[in-house]
């Protein structure tokens, strides 16, 4: 007669599983990261001539070390920065003080699109706080996102985030995010 093998007691299996569970709860994190994504420009070569840009095409945003904002020489509060950036970047062919406009054909959009030649130049001091820098970046991004939203309505009668991939690309081409960060210098003031 074959010997009967005694069954392995599995009542402690639950405890082992709980131990494993505790281990994973402790060592892992569930937080998802969010952030503003930017692309850095490639490093500039030493002896490159400055590209001349007409003064009316540039909006200068300066942040000093005490987190004060200067837009085209005028002190401005961060709450108005978005409005100002948006007004600056909206094509306005009849106003000689706002940036020049050009007509461009963009793949995916019928007819020509009026694009502003404006560039926003952002310069900050080494003493500016990171929170202020992020605030400024965020407000500028918000201005461009609103412009994209407007263009999406105009051309496709849809919200920007509901566009198809090709349409999103067309709108991104029509509203390029032209924020140029100056090479770091110390702003004395």
């Amino acid at each position: 007669m074959a010997k009967k093998v005694p069954e392995i007691n599995s009542s402690s299996q639950a405890d082992i599983a709980f131990l494993l569970l505790c281990f994973f709860l402790m060592t892992t994190s569930m937080d998802v990261d969010y952030g503003i994504t930017r692309r850095l420009p490639p490093p500039v070569e030493q002896n490159v001539e400055d590209i001349k840009v007409k003064e009316r095409n540039v909006m200068n945003v300066l942040v000093n070390k005490s987190d004060r904002l200067l837009v085209n020489g005028r002190p401005t509060d961060i709450t108005f920065l978005m409005e100002e950036a948006k007004r600056f970047m909206t094509p306005n062919p009849n106003d000689p003080t706002s940036p020049e406009v050009e007509m461009k054909t963009i793949e995916g959009i019928n007819g020509q699109v009026m694009m502003s030649k404006g560039v926003i130049s952002l310069q900050n001091d080494r003493g500016t706080s990171y929170a202020m820098y992020i605030s400024v970046q965020n407000e500028l991004a918000r201005a461009f996102n609103l412009l994209k939203e407007e263009q999406a309505w105009k051309h496709f009668h849809k919200h920007y985030d509901q566009l198809t991939e090709d349409q999103t690309k067309a709108i991104n081409d029509a509203v390029p995010v032209r924020v140029s960060e100056a090479e770091p210098v110390e702003i004395v003031k």
């Binding site: 599995s10 009542s11 299996q13 639950a14 082992i16 599983a17 709980f18 494993l20 569970l21 994973f24 709860l25 060592t27 892992t28 994190s29 569930m30 998802v32 990261d33 969010y34 952030g35 503003i36 994504t37 930017r38 692309r39 850095l40 420009p41 490639p42 490093p43 070390k65 961060i78 709450t79 900050n124 001091d125 080494r126 003493g127 500016t128 706080s129 990171y130 929170a131 202020m132 820098y133 992020i134 605030s135 970046q137 965020n138 407000e139 991004a141 918000r142 996102n145 770091p184």
Partner: protein, 156 residues
């Protein structure tokens, strides 16, 4: 009708616990799939600023983080320091670190590598600018300023 009544005390049967391990295993698998390993022990404080125009950071395996902020250990002062991997570093260490991070990824993934800057909100921009310059020189152009969801008015 008393015919059906059985004699003796009625006993409540014990709840079977034999399926308990299975339930716990299910929980384990859930946590293993939804979470990611905590990568480093933070040596600096990183209270992130808030922003509203943000995107989700996709593919955590292709993100490497630089932490900048005042040290947690108050004996080391309150000046913002840079943390790469598990230790404090200087600005000059950034290019080597970028190389290491690149080596650790598969060839095809290398151009998609994103650097996430996790910077304390009161840090001065000087350090951040220096790090950005090093990243530019090292060719790590994809950058993400990690922030919390919120309005910029809460940053002050």
């Amino acid at each position: 009708m008393a015919k059906f009544r059985k004699g003796g005390k009625k006993e409540v049967p014990q709840v079977s616990t034999s399926s308990l391990p299975d339930i716990v295993y299910m929980l384990i698998f859930f946590f293993m799939i939804t979470t990611s390993m905590r990568d480093v022990e933070l040596k600096v404080k990183t209270a992130l600023p808030k922003a509203s125009e943000i995107q989700k950071l996709e593919k955590k395996a292709l993100v490497s983080s630089i932490y900048i902020g005042p040290p947690r250990d108050t004996r080391l002062g309150s000046e913002s320091r840079i943390q790469l991997n598990d230790q404090f570093a200087k600005v000059g260490d950034v290019p080597d670190w970028v190389m290491q991070e690149r080596e650790a990824r598969a060839e095809a993934d290398r151009p998609l590598l994103t650097t996430a800057l996790k910077v304390h909100k009161e840090t001065r921009m000087g350090v951040v600018t220096d790090v950005k310059q090093e990243l530019r020189k090292a060719g790590a152009f994809r950058l993400n300023y990690t922030t919390l969801k919120g309005s910029v008015t809460e940053n002050r």
